[in-house]
């Protein structure tokens, strides 16, 4: 299997996984709704069923691209899709909100040297850093949490120098202190 094919397969796999998560979410909500009285459950049950059916079709199309020609409506684009995309240059690819991502650094998935697995591994690491920040916020003063988070993330995750990391940590803390304590006068 060529590298391109492997990559395509990997991209499909994470999309399928996301579809599955959304599908489970809709099914869970539809199932739980039976515990409520008929009037309270009517809307979430209807939405749960509708969402499940729609996501299931999306999942089928993502998992079995051959179905795309049969379920053409799943691949239909919004009214402005073609007109606008034609106008946009290659460097400004619109996302689902029509927001052109002019950021010259492409998403990792678009860079051939980085696999999908590594991309999601990095996302997981960022989430863990953020979870760590929340834990720090719960057990210490917010200025300690912010300072430690900024210094450690920029040094260990972004591989910036200690000098830059510490400088950024101090500046951010100072900014937060001025904003929260002096301007907004919040007691955190």
């Amino acid at each position: 299997m060529s590298n391109g094919n492997r990559k395509q397969k990997a991209v499909r796999t994470d999309a399928i996984l996301f579809d599955l998560i959304i599908l489970s979410f809709f099914l869970l909500f539809a199932f739980i709704s039976f515990a409520y009285n008929p009037r309270a459950r009517s809307i979430p049950l209807a939405l749960g069923i509708l969402g499940s059916v729609m996501t299931l079709m999306q999942l089928l199309v993502d998992a079995l691209p051959g179905l795309r020609s049969k379920l053409r409506f799943v691949s239909a684009t919004g009214l402005l899709a073609k007109e606008d995309q034609a106008r946009l240059k290659d460097s400004e690819k619109p996302d689902s909100e029509g927001i052109a991502t002019s950021d010259p650094t492409p998403p990792l998935s678009a860079r051939k040297d980085i696999s999908i697995g590594r991309e999601w591994g990095r996302v997981l690491r960022i989430v863990l850093w953020l979870a760590g920040f929340i834990v720090l916020l719960a057990v210490t003063h917010y200025l300690i949490a912010v300072g430690a988070f900024i210094v450690l993330v920029t040094r260990l995750e972004a591989k910036e120098s200690w000098k830059r990391s510490i400088l950024l940590g101090v500046c951010t803390n100072l900014g937060f202190f001025i904003l929260f304590e002096l301007l907004l006068k919040v007691q955190l």
């Binding site: 999309a15 996301f18 979410f25 809709f26 909500f29 739980i32 709704s33 409520y36 009285n37 009037r39 309270a40 459950r41 939405l47 969402g51 729609m54 996501t55 999306q58 799943v74 239909a76 684009t77 919004g78 009214l79 402005l80 995309q85 106008r87 946009l88 400004e92 619109p94 996302d95 689902s96 909100e97 029509g98 927001i99 052109a100 002019s102 950021d103 010259p104 650094t105 492409p106 990792l108 998935s109 990095r122 996302v123 960022i126 989430v127 953020l130 920040f133 929340i134 916020l137 912010v146 988070f149 900024i150 993330v153 920029t154 972004a158 591989k159 910036e160 950024l168 951010t172 937060f176």
Partner: protein, 492 residues
């Protein structure tokens, strides 16, 4: 509404409103200049700060920030060929060639003037159209509000540039999330999973922070590197020439402002389309279009005029019907609800001074940002050389702290994190985040009016009232049309 014009002006000029205007404008300018960040991000981050603030001051801060985004994005578009926001993408086509020819000042001057006057044009149209709200109030009841909410959601999905199907799934997701907590009619508590926190439902502030600030910062952090790649080293001169150019091509300016306002009024279309449409119009309507793309000043005036006039247009459905005209407006709509306002027809009757403060701020913010841009563009563009790896952690910390600040609950921070990851995944797989936001905002209204209609009229209530029926037909037609169109295209 107009009787509140003078009191609103007094509020606007009274201290510390001017300070908030300057702060908001500077923040908006900063977020506009930095590619990858924009209106939704700055509004989501400002939202917790406005918590507990006097309503008018909060509006001044938020609208001040919002008004600066569009022109902020044009500065790097002209100087380094990197649009700060998608709305400024078309400005690159002629703005950057002008900068390469040593006419950066002329381009900046024209962009600033066209933006500023465009915003005034949009605000004027908004002021003329808003009093219609009084008549809407009398004509609307529960079924109309329900159909309006339904139509708002459908419009966003239908006019999106991504997959229509995924847009509808995202809308369903947002709607089902909005059912968490108290049912507005029966009082039943749903989907709380044993936690007291979810009794009030998903709180908008942490959800917005997650969807925009955290999600975008994850994307930014993964991208690494500097935001802008090529430095601008030229000088900025000839600003007066640029200003004069707008008046020389005043007809074009008016036409493009009208295009911007009109596109802004259509919910969901947004600025990314507006600037291309205006640019296309300028090139097509020109007798000598050969200069376009090579540094024609009309190629800067047209998208800039449309860009800023669309904000006034986008506020029309936001304020008149409570249906956001763009992504920024969706977050702004949520912000108004958090501030205790009730966007929709009643707002014009109940809080006219807030509406007018908003309009004044929109105009004042645009004038201010144009002045700052003219005099400080060269220095401001250097902000884009800040590495994303330094910027993203600060956004993470500010976003999560902002989520914590509103109620001092760690659960809010966790919600922001969950929504941040969801936003990143949605962006990655091309699901519309705007549909989720609008569904979260409109979900409560849709549920309440749905049940109230059923109680009063039964299911037929949705179809026996002409406006409700009309809105229903439009909604169905909008959803069906893209499918019919694609079928016709595949046949033809």
């Amino acid at each position: 509404m107009y009787e509140a014009a003078l009191p609103a002006l007094t509020i606007m000029l009274a201290w510390p409103a001017p300070l908030y205007l300057v702060l908001g404008t500077l923040l908006g300018l900063l977020f506009g200049i930095l590619p990858g960040l924009g209106g939704p991000q700055v509004l989501a981050l400002l939202l917790p700060i406005t918590y507990g603030m006097e309503t008018n001051l909060a509006i001044v801060l938020l609208v001040g920030a919002m008004s600066a985004i569009a022109f902020g994005g044009s500065i790097p578009a002209i100087l380094i060929n990197t649009p700060g926001t998608p709305q400024s993408a078309a400005t690159c086509f002629d703005g950057f060639p002008l900068a390469q020819q040593g006419k950066a000042g002329m381009a900046i001057g024209a962009a600033a003037t066209a933006s500023c006057l465009g915003a005034i044009f949009g605000a004027a149209i908004l002021t003329i159209l808003l009093p219609v709200g009084r008549y809407v109030v009398l004509a609307f009841s529960y079924p109309e509000y329900f159909m309006l909410a339904l139509m708002g959601l459908s419009v966003i999905a239908v006019v999106s540039k991504g997959s229509l199907w995924k847009g509808l799934i995202a809308a369903c997701l947002g709607l089902i999330l909005s059912t968490i907590g108290y049912d507005p009619v029966t009082g039943s508590v749903r989907y709380t999973f044993g936690t007291d926190y979810l009794w009030d439902g998903i709180r908008l502030v942490p959800a917005f922070i997650g969807l925009f600030a955290i999600g975008e910062a994850i994307d930014l952090f993964l991208g690494r590197g500097k935001i802008a790649q090529s430095p601008y080293t030229g000088k900025i001169g000839g600003i007066t020439k640029g200003i004069k150019a707008v008046f020389k091509h005043f007809g074009l300016f008016i036409r493009c402002s009208a295009i911007g306002t009109l596109i802004g009024i259509i919910p969901g279309v947004g600025g990314a389309v507006t600037n291309f449409l205006a640019y296309g119009h300028a090139a097509q309507a020109s007798k000598n279009p050969e200069g376009f793309g090579k540094g024609d000043i009309r190629g800067v005036i047209a998208p800039e005029a449309a860009n800023d006039s669309k904000d006034g247009g986008a506020l029309v459905p936001t304020l008149l019907f409570g249906i956001p005209g763009s992504l920024e407006m969706a977050v702004f709509l949520g912000a108004m609800i958090v501030l205790g306002l009730d966007p929709g027809p009643r707002m014009m009757l109940d809080r006219p001074e807030v509406v007018l403060v908003l309009i004044y701020t929109l105009v004042a913010g645009n004038i201010l940002v144009a002045l700052i841009g003219i005099f400080g563009a060269g220095a401001l563009v250097k902000l884009t050389y800040v590495p994303a790896t330094l910027l993203a952690p600060v956004i993470f910390a500010l976003g999560l702290m902002g989520a914590y600040l509103t109620n001092e609950l760690l659960a809010d921070v966790i919600i922001a994190l969950i929504f941040g990851v969801l936003a990143f995944a949605m962006k990655r797989f091309d699901f519309s985040r705007i549909a989720v936001v609008i569904a979260l905002v409109l979900g409560g209204l849709a549920q309440k009016t749905f049940h109230q209609t059923l109680l009063l009229w039964g299911y037929k209530g949705f179809f026996i009232r002409p406006i409700s029926l009309g809105l229903f037909i439009i909604t169905v037609a909008m959803i069906v049309f893209p499918y019919v169109r694609s079928r016709l295209r595949s046949r033809g």
